[in-house]
Amino acid sequence: MIMNNKRITLFAGHYGSGKTNISVNYALRLKEKHENVVVADLDIVNPYFRSKDSESFLEERGIHLISSEYANSNVDVPAMPSEAYAIIDNKQTVAVIDVGGDDRGALAMGRYAPAILEENNYEMLFVINKYRPLTRDCASTIAVMHEIETACSMKFTGIVNNSNLGDETDEETVMNSLSYAEEVSQASGLPIKMTAVKEDLYDTLKNKVVNCFPIKLYVRQSWAKATLD
């Protein structure tokens, strides 16, 4: 069961694990069932490449994006959007929260933790990628997990295996990550809620991988695709 029925879904993890893209894709799936879907970009770590890049794309699809007014601007003000409290207060919304990377990013999330815990209608998913050097094995991944949980005063409820090598991701990349994700799941006691795969790999992998979640890469710049010899 990939889609949960909780009101708030939080994605957190090591920075560069793919939280933002998962958040955008997940929100689009939620929109198929729910009228009032909101994405909150609570990233205070990354200066560029954030949910804000997809703002017009999301708004066109009826998904409201909450982000800092300084995101993608020329100033370095790691501020939280004031509108973020609306997610907590407005129980009519179905919300996706894109938490900043690592414990530093998760720390800022902590201020919303008491209200989220009190309402107790959330999933907090740990996004992992075995091809990121600082989370390449189970032990280092679990260490990052504990750092994040300590920083934001909340516990994860599941795992998203988003192991990928960017544009070079192929079937083998995903298949080679399954035992790693399983090991992290065993060590943490958390279920693997989904394994995210690029859309073009979905057909080949959907019968081989449990809870396979097809994702599109929505954040693309003019320079991103060039491959230099």
Binding site: Y48, N74, V75, D76, N129, Y131, P133, D167, S222
Partner: protein, 356 residues
Amino acid sequence: MAEKVLMKGNEALAEAAIMAGCRHYFGYPITPQTEIAAYMAKRMPVIGGTFLQAESEVAAINMIYGAAAAGKRAMTSSSSPGIALKSEGISYLAGSDLPALIINVQRGGPGLGGIQPSQSDYFQSTKSAGHGDFKLIVLAPASVQEMVDLTFKGFDLADKYRMPAMLLSDGTMGQMMEPVSLEMGEVKEYDKSSWAACGTKCEREHNVVNSLFIQPEELERYNFERYERYAQIEANEVMYDEYRMEDAEICIVAYGVAARVSQNAIDKAREAGIKVGMIRPITLWPFPKAVLNAAADKVKAFISVELSMGQMIEDVELAIRCKKPVLLCNRVGGMIPTTEDVLGSINKANSLGGDK
């Protein structure tokens, strides 16, 4: 094939520095390069190295001086205004013939400018990284893999020629993620015993590391000697990449992120039948003068694509002896030229008459 990992440019270069034997990192935070310091803070204690967040950029560059004087591979990193603060120390490194690697992940300027990517420190890095007569080896990566490869190369060249080298990156390269291979091969060790101040054990004369010379004749001699070394570098260490230049009538010159956008624009223009190619400098100093000058005899125009108000364009014009027109295609302030911006300039260059 080597095992690949997915890394952010800043992290990748930090790991490459460690693999190149750098165990001394001194820095001060500034966006968009802070991940380098964050990565070093995590890794250095694990591998027995030193990570130190200095009290300022000035302090950090002088700590580099100390580590380099002791014969150790040392690195510092910053972004545009932070590099300006380091400039005095960079000059001292050059004046004392000390190898070190300095990373500049450029952001918008002048002044405090902004945190979005830029290439407006071309002059600063290639012409005036500090006071006095000296040069830096300046390397310009255009992919996360090159962030790795050129970090490795930078340390090697710095040791080989006993001078500071700079990796001139920009915010895009620092922040973007791509798969990379970290297989770097052997680190070449250089004998530093003739100059490094690492303890005499009372068995030899002191080595003196210094940029102050009491007698003008002596200071002049050091300057002349240094420029002989620079001439060797210009003769032997130029690096560039050519893209679709075989039959090109228009030559784009671009480095870093500007080269990536240009490559996409070239492919599109070629579909429309316009013969355009690119010479991408990988070393900004030494600048690939010879290949550009040779290209000037074949193409009808050049386009310098830059995230600056037109800095590298001056070196292009000098390199080709102003034989052909050079157009400027630029965005600044943290903006990146789009494929359409570059295509517009290609069309403009294509409409120019003149002999081929």
